[in-house]
């Protein structure tokens, strides 16, 4: 009976979501306080019900209840408990449930942390988020019920896809979804503002911390996904421009544009059209990502289970929410949005360029992802767009971003004197170029131009970020106190920008200077590679809870000095009879050594891949910095204080805007 409880609470949650959509919205339209007051408790109840359903699914997995079809398809009695937990979101039905859970979690968070929002506004935000929840709960209950029973009950389940049996995959999807779904808050705020007609800088101030948080989670989620692919797929790549990766990367690009555009809207009351469109776009891309991954319109190495009928349902959801909100925008924006003033050479302009560049970057990714579909529609035959396209287009679009970050940190709001800025930046530019060239020439002897460009860009971003921080201290007596009075948001920005520089370094050096070797090795064989000596010590059979494996032990030495032993396994997961490679990696800040077993050859020998990947860790280190920056900015004190201060005025404003 336990799974039926989960099914039942899902239906209750749907009922709550419907109430949460209709009553606050109607209440806000006709000024009914009681109806609007329903928003908070009902949203929390919805969260409670979905949590129960989620708990039930976890219980079904942990207790090996194979009468539940979803459990039978994605678990096995031999599967270790921790992977039974992550199997909950290992496939379609469960990941949808996770989606719904996280949506209601964000909604509930809004009910707790927006106590000082105007009543009308909050009611609309919660209602909009409720409507999204209605869509997804309906989707789940009608097409993908995770609690469906399977009769007769199978003796055992067909196991979780071995690729997903990995620690990285336990937290990667929840993080990714926290990010994806988190953009629904910005979406809710945008729609509520369009509905209420109060599109002003306070709207931007309310939305901004939520968007920063969502962006932070998405950054972590994408970095985890990249890290997982790096060590789990066994061929040392960290980004494949695969449709599924692109589906999470596009919302990130627009999210990045959005948090920058919010800064201008909040501080200077400009670009409101632009910001609101970006907010809609970020959420639309989250839905689009779900659509692309779940519908099977695109083929991807990650597409584990897809179904066109479900695709139609998500497409309808996408059409309703995005089409509806863009229509609302077209109807309301002309009368409600009035822009502020700024001069051509100002931080506003640079931020606008920044978000345009990110938009263009997103569009190039979108085009590359959808092009096979478009080409087929136009009868151009079957084709695919590979990584070279993305690299060729994406890098030139992102290069000006690095340049703009540097200038943007120094230029003042509203208006600045380009001579002053040029004076200040001249020296930094010279320093970046000189140091960058010297470093590249000293440490590398090939691919110098690209390496140099990457290092110069990273140095430029770092130097200018630090210079902007120092400029804030310039005229202060006590530097320590001054450091403390600088808002957290500023520190957040600085750290995130430096993180961007760190990632640039990682990507540049890894992609230009990684070397690899495919080698045939038998026990006792030795090979010299990338200044290291690798010797295959032994090959031994081994077993795990649900797999059998051959393990290679490779001793690594440098100039005769022992470095480490690397262990790589070739596993056969017994239930699905599916082979998997477990790479052996020795990582450090400056380089990774990476080996993976290929296939058995004649006699004792195996083919083995060896990689030397300098600075690969910096890619993810930079992402951690960026996420940390986002967190700092999101928790800036002014978001809490100003809301309080302006509350009275805002309530009046909102009330005024409601009069016909």
């Amino acid at each position: 009976m336990i799974p039926e409880l989960g099914h039942f609470t899902l239906i209750l949650a749907l009922a709550m979501a419907i109430i949460q959509t209709i009553f606050p919205l109607a209440g806000a339209a006709n000024g009914n306080q009681a109806w609007m007051a329903l928003a908070r408790p009902v949203a929390r109840l919805q969260f409670l019900f979905i949590s129960i359903a989620f708990g039930v699914l976890i219980y079904s997995f942990l207790s090996n209840d194979f009468s539940v079809a979803y459990v039978a398809q994605n678990s096995n009695s031999l599967l270790p408990a921790i992977y039974r937990l992550s199997a909950v979101w290992g496939a379609h039905e469960g990941s949808l449930l996770l989606w719904a859970l996280i949506l209601s979690l964000w909604t509930t968070a809004v009910t707790f942390y927006s106590k000082r929002l105007p009543v009308f506004f909050l009611a609309r935000v919660i209602a909009v988020m409720g409507s999204v929840s209605v869509g997804f709960l309906l989707f789940m209950l009608l097409t993908s019920n995770p609690f469906e029973r399977l009769l007769p009950i199978p003796a055992d389940g067909s196991d979780l896809n071995p690729l997903l049996q990995d620690p990285g995959l336990i937290i990667h999807p929840p993080m990714l979804y926290m990010g994806y779904v988190g953009f629904s808050v910005a979406f809710g705020f945008a729609i509520a503002a369009l509905l209420g007609g109060n599109l002003d800088s306070s709207w931007a101030r309310w939305s901004r911390p939520w968007t920063l948080l969502a962006w932070m989670f998405l950054t972590i989620g994408i970095a985890l996904g990249s890290w997982w692919a790096y060590y789990e797929l066994g061929w040392g790549g960290w980004w494949f421009w695969d449709p599924v990766e692109n589906a999470s990367f596009m919302p990130w690009l627009i999210g990045t544009a959005l948090i920058h555009s919010f800064a201008a809207t909040e501080k200077r009351d400009v670009f409101k059209n632009w910001t609101i469109l970006l907010a809609i776009c970020a959420f639309a891309l989250s839905l689009l990502g779900t659509f692309l991954v779940r519908s099977g319109v695109l083929t991807s190495v990650h597409a584990f289970a897809t179904d066109p009928e479900r695709g139609i349902f998500i497409l309808i959801l996408l059409g309703f929410f995005v089409g509806g909100s863009l229509l609302l925008y077209a109807l309301r924006a002309p009368s409600t949005i009035k822009g502020g003033q700024f001069k051509l050479f100002s931080r506003e302009t640079l931020l606008l360029f920044n978000s345009i560049l990110f938009l263009v970057a997103m569009l190039t990714v979108l085009l590359g992802t959808l092009y096979p579909l478009i080409a087929e529609a136009l009868g151009m035959g079957k084709l695919s767009v590979g990584a070279p396209y993305f690299n060729a287009v994406f890098i030139p679009v992102m290069a000006p971003v690095a340049l703009l970050i540097g200038i943007g940190a120094i230029v003042k709001w509203k208006q600045d004197d380009y001579k002053r800025v040029a004076r200040q930046l001249r020296f930094l530019l010279l320093a970046s170029v000189v140091i960058g060239v010297v470093l590249s020439v000293t440490f590398f002897d090939n691919h110098l131009v690209r390496t140099c460009a990457g290092i110069v860009a990273a140095l430029w971003v770092t130097f200018t970020s630090i210079a902007a921080l120092l400029a804030r201290l310039k005229h202060r007596q006590n530097k320590l106190i001054a450091l403390q009075t600088i808002p957290r948001g500023f520190y957040g920005m600085t750290i995130a920008h430096i993180g961007f520089a760190v990632t640039i370094i990682g990507i540049t050096i890894t992609s230009q200077h990684s070397v690899d070797l495919h080698e045939r090795m038998a026990p006792g064989d030795k090979v010299e590679f990338a200044d290291y000596q690798f010797s295959l010590e032994e090959l031994r059979p081994t077993t795990g809870p649900n797999f059998k494996a051959t393990e290679a032990v490779v001793k690594v030495e440098k100039n005769g000095v022992y470095v480490t032993d690397l262990h790589s396994q070739k596993r056969i997961y017994t239930v699905r009879n599916m082979p998997m490679t477990e790479a052996g990696i020795d990582s450090s800040l400056m380089r990774d050594i990476y080996i993976s077993l290929g296939e058995p050859l004649d006699g004792e020998a195996w083919s083995i891949r060896l990689y030397h990947k300098p600075f690969v860790r910096w890619i993810w280190l930079g992402a951690i910095f960026m996420a940390l920056g986002g967190l700092l900015a999101a928790t800036d004190r002014r978001y809490r204080l100003k809301v309080e201060k302006n509350n009275a005025a805002l309530v009046e404003e909102t009330a005024a805007s409601l009069k016909p």
Binding site: T299, V301, F353, I356, K382, Y389, H518, L601
Partner: protein, 152 residues
């Protein structure tokens, strides 16, 4: 600068940026699109010999041959009508097996042998790449039956 001029300046620079992006995209597309051809299309001479493309099909049973000393490997891909021999140097993916549908990227050589730079098999045991499925279905009209040798 008047607001009007400022607006024009911004719009112009946006348009210029878009134009550059469009130019980049078009040139990148031209160079980097990978078209897909089935073994039958290749045998009929529809595939180019000057540029890389993708080929997909089933790995014929008993066709995988490895060089004893190097990592050179050759195998035959089929869409059940025609076959193309593929050569590759390197390590094949985990899910590469005889009878399995795979996709390879590379170039067709003069001698009608396909030299693969990359061999891909999907990460799901029962998954068949849709290109392969379609090639098989298109070929499926008339299947000469004896072409397979049964590996037992």
């Amino acid at each position: 600068m008047t607001p009007r001029k400022k607006r024009i300046a911004i719009v112009c620079s946006i348009l210029a940026g878009m134009a550059i992006a469009a130019a980049l995209i078009l040139t990148a597309f031209e160079k980097n699109l990978l078209y897909f051809y089935s073994p039958t299309q290749i045998v009929n001479g529809e595939a180019p010999t000057t540029r890389s493309f993708r080929i997909g099909g089933l790995v014929m049973n008993d066709s995988v041959k490895r060089n004893k000393d190097t990592l050179d490997v050759s195998f035959v891909l089929t869409d059940t009508i025609n076959q193309i021999e593929v050569v590759y140097n390197g390590i094949l993916p985990d899910l590469f097996r005889e009878g399995q549908g795979i996709v390879a990227n590379g170039k067709l050589q003069e001698n009608k042998i396909f030299k693969a730079d990359e061999v891909l098999a999907k990460h799901d045991e029962n998954y068949m790449p849709p290109e392969v499925a379609q090639a098989l279905e298109e070929a499926g009209a008339d299947i000469p039956h004896q072409q397979y040798s049964t590996a037992q």
